[in-house]
Amino acid sequence: MLADGLARTLRRTGHTVDCVASAEHALLALDHDAFDVILLDVGLPGMGGFDLLARLRRRGNTVPVIVISAHDALGDRVRGLDLGADDYLVKPFEHEELEARVRALIRRRATRVTPTLVFGRLALDLVAREAKVDGERIELTPREWAIMELFLTQPGVALAKERMVQSLSSWDDPLTANAVEVYVSRLRAKFESAGLRIRTVRGFGYMLEGEHAS
């Protein structure tokens, strides 16, 4: 019932989904097709989900795996990640949560091939060091670039101002928190029209939000 519901929702958001009911069937399916992500319920009948994961990794299969479990005990989580899982979801979960993690894993895999970070309409080409909105180049100073890179490497994560100062101070001259505020306000102006918003998290730092927040 869980697999059926998940598959229907994932298909609707544009994913292609195959469902199997046991680890043995999963191995067969993996022999025939290449998958972008595996959702692995460790409560599977027959061969345990953890065994399947271990076997996959022994075979050198690096397909990203999200383990789904009814156990949130730390031990289970560590075991899953140790065996080579890429993420861990505890039942029950919101579909949005699953969707976000699936996207993150696919994106992570993709960035290994094309070193471009994408957030909404903004794309950062890490090789050419170019920022583009809808394909149109936006000029960024090195520090502005560094700030945007920080935001896009961890999309949707609030960045502590302190950490931004530290990251940016690796340049020759040290930076103050005030300076970060100045850069942020400049970036706000540059990306406002692109539907990107850098919002202040009171007392903490900044968070990048877009029309398609993920």
């Binding site: 869980l2 519901g5 929702t9 029950p92």
Partner: protein, 452 residues
């Protein structure tokens, strides 16, 4: 049923009662012995002058004369404390000396008779001696007052009384302190039990208890053990039940999510929305029940603290919390000052998360919620403050009870959040304070960790 008297008073009664009896009896015995010894000795010395007088008596023609000078007679009467009197009787009449009452029985020749009588309104002791003569027996009497006899008895009694009192006092003191010392382990046990939390079911140290108390401690431990087992079973049941709920809940949630994406009639869409909300509540509840089962002291989850900076620790979930606050239209802010604690990081985050969930649930839209960390009074604290409606003072302790909800409040909570916070705080020996926020508005909950 009558309440038992104190052990001390029982022991005192049982020990000092018989002791008093023995001491009293021996005092009587001593008095009698002293009296008879004194009487024998003084009687013998009273007989001496009587014998001296008897030897100087002359009987001629039936008339008795004393052949003794006045000086010699006076010499016989010399005594440091008592007055002595002598008289001689013949045929029932006093012929020489004062009228001393006669002996109750006539003494036989050679055997003196001693008796008590009154002479000149004073009690006196008399020795009477018979001397045979041609004109019938002549009786010589020597009487003396009782001053030195009484004095001797008084001395003996005084000495004995002092000794008896001393024995009594020493026994009393010995029993008093002995009982206090003997009962000290019980007092220690009492204190240990009194300071325990109602959830601390560890056995009491049996070996330290004295032999007499050990069976009691043993039974107490057996009871604690049975209680712990039953609590653990119950805890386990809650954990298992919550756990078993997860898989069907996940399936339910997945199906509801799938349905939400389908083209639905407005009525059905409404139903699916309600289903989704209910599923979320059930999921939240199962998670909280499991958390509560995990942090419950009877869960025997080992406490494994590590040194952590609260500000650093709580940073990792900022994005999550901001998203939750955004969803409710609340301005969530942070005042994170470095504050080191020794504790279990995951549980501390859980506590902070529960405090924030609570604040977000009960603060109206456009409200302000702030998460703080810092140091105060040598300890470190995590604090969440909101400017919501606040909690009436009378309800501030009740909100930490499981399934407690402030009446008339909205929101999806089941009333477990603050109970979880309290259990986590207890685990860390931290205190939880709930007060009004700045300016008496809203709510401020502070978890203060002890120093070190």
């Amino acid at each position: 049923m009558r309440a038992e008297r104190s052990v001390r008073s029982r022991l005192l009664v049982w020990l000092l009662g018989p002791l008093a009896l023995v001491l009293g009896a021996s005092a009587v015995l001593a008095y009698r012995t002293a009296l008879s010894l004194a009487t024998d000795a003084y009687d013998r010395s009273l007989l001496d002058p009587a014998l001296a007088i008897a030897q100087e008596l002359k009987v001629s023609d039936g008339a008795v004369t004393l052949n003794m000078s006045r000086e010699a007679l006076e010499a016989l009467r010399v005594d440091t404390s008592d007055r002595l009197y002598f008289s001689v009787m013949q045929r029932g009449r006093v012929v020489i000396g004062p009228e001393i009452p006669p002996p109750p029985l006539a003494p036989a020749s050679g055997t003196p008779v001693y008796y008590d009588t009154v002479y000149q309104r004073e009690p006196v002791r008399v020795a009477a001696l018979a001397v045979a003569s041609a004109g019938g027996p002549v009786i010589v009497q020597a009487a003396e007052t009782l001053v030195k006899r009484n004095r001797l008895v008084e001395h003996v009694l005084l000495a004995y009384g002092a000794l008896g009192t001393a024995i009594f006092v020493v026994a009393l003191a010995a029993v008093w302190t002995g009982v206090a010392r003997g009962l000290a382990p019980l007092e220690k046990l009492r204190r240990e039990l009194a300071t325990r939390s109602h959830r601390d079911l560890r056995p009491v140290a049996e070996r330290q208890a004295p032999d007499e108390v050990r069976p009691l401690v043993h039974e107490l431990n057996e009871l604690l053990q049975r209680l712990a087992v039953s609590m653990e079973l119950q805890q386990q049941f809650v954990a298992d039940a919550a756990h078993q709920l997860r898989t069907p809940l996940a399936a339910l949630q997945a199906q509801v999510d799938a349905a939400r994406g389908e083209p639905l009639s407005p009525d059905l869409a409404r139903t699916v929305e309600q289903l989704q909300a209910a599923t979320r509540r059930a999921a939240h509840l199962s998670r909280q029940l499991l958390m509560l089962a995990a942090v419950d002291p009877s869960a025997e989850r080992p406490y494994s603290p590590q040194s952590t900076d609260l500000a650093q620790l709580l940073q990792r979930d900022v994005s999550d919390w901001v998203a939750r606050a955004d969803a409710r239209g609340i301005d969530l802010g942070f005042e994170l000052e470095a504050a080191t604690v020794s504790g279990e990081p995951d549980l501390i985050v859980e506590a902070a998360s529960n405090l924030l969930d609570n604040a977000l649930a009960y603060t109206p839209q456009n409200g302000v919620v702030t998460l703080r960390t810092g140091q105060r009074d040598g300890g470190s604290y995590v604090e969440v403050e909101d400017d919501g409606p606040g909690i009436p003072e009378a309800e501030r302790t009740g909100v930490f009870e499981r399934f407690h909800r402030v009446k008339g409040t909205p929101g999806p909570g089941a009333g477990l959040g603050l109970a979880i916070v309290r259990e986590i705080a207890n685990r860390h020996r931290a205190t939880v304070d709930l007060n009004a926020g700045a300016g008496g508005r809203g709510t401020r909950v502070t978890v203060l960790f002890p120093p070190g």
